[in-house]
Each structure stands twice: as C-alpha cells, then as structure tokens.
Amino acid sequence: MGCDVVTVSTDTQFVHLAWKKSEKELANVKYPMAADPTGKVSRMFGVYDEASGLALRGTFVVNPEGVLLNSEVNFYNMGRNIDELMRKFKANVYMAKKTNEVCPSKWKDEGDKTLVNPGAKMVGKVHEALS
C-alpha cells in the first residue's frame, strides 16, 4: 500500500531480536522493530512516560512529505483497533489524491460517500450532502 509500518519501544534492537525469536505470536512479523532506549523519539511524539521510562500506546501516520496527519494515544491498559487505523490510513491516501474531498466518519474505503468541496453552501446542510 506504499506504506511502511515501524514499531517503536524503549527496548534495544537486541531485545527486539530476542523477543521476536522467542514469542510465537510474532512468527509472521515483517516490519522493522525500532529501538528508542533514550526515549528521544518517544518524547518528540509526546508518548514518553517519564515515571516508567516506557512509551504509551501511540500510533502516528506520517505522509510521504514528512507531515504528521493522525495521532492516537492510548494508556497502558487499552489496545488499539487496527481496522480504525487502516480506515484512517486509506482515507489519508484517498484525500491526498482527491484534495477537494473530505472523508466523513463513516467513510471506510474508496467508493464510499465523501463530501466534495465543503464550503458556504454546505453550512447547515451536511445532512443533505451526506444523504
């Protein structure tokens, strides 16, 4: 899909290797596992927990120009929904191609209803534009 997934924790690359090789759940992992032992990049994205030295569950989508387009951060006890992440990613790719359209909350994939040229005419008429 023209996209690279990179996982990041404050573990070193050596620990990533050991974990990958010992945990059978990771048997099919293909993405690079990045090491941020100083927390520098985790701090930059605002997910570094100074108290524990660990990174919170943050997910960030960066476009090919290096611009941050989505951010989602969950606390330790909340897992992430991959379907929602893929929805956001697909919507970003779609809107990069169709710059006069926006993707409403129920948009899932190409072909679904978008709003075209949202402007003065759509004010107070979003319901009509969506139906």
Binding site: D4, T7, Q13, V15, W19, G46, A51, E65, V67
Partner: protein, 55 residues
C-alpha cells in the same frame, strides 16, 4: 506523567533515526524519516510500552 510536548497535526516531523531489528533480513538496520521522504513512502509509527508483554 507523559511529556506533553507532542507534535501537532499538520506539522513537519523533525528528522530522526532509530536503530532497528529487521525480522525479514534477520539483521540490525536503521529507520530514517529522511529516507522515507526521499523514497516517497507513508509511515505508520506504532509505539508500545515493552517487549515481552502484550501489545
């Protein structure tokens, strides 16, 4: 507490590099945002607390 100085949406992410373990090559490597921009690739960064725990 988490550091609140996170990046803002719509902002250019400052360039950074991280050492990686690449399971496909079974070797160490590096991830560089500048490389991603040069190769015109989208990036999804997925942070999690720690190896050897549930993700």
């Amino acid at each position: 507490m988490s550091d609140a100085t996170g990046l803002k949406l719509g902002q250019n992410v400052p360039d950074f590099e991280l050492a990686t373990y690449d399971p496909v090559k079974d070797d160490f490597g590096k991830f560089s945002l500048a490389d991603q921009i040069a190769r015109k690739r989208w990036t999804i960064l997925f942070f999690y607390p720690a190896d050897f725990t549930f993700v």
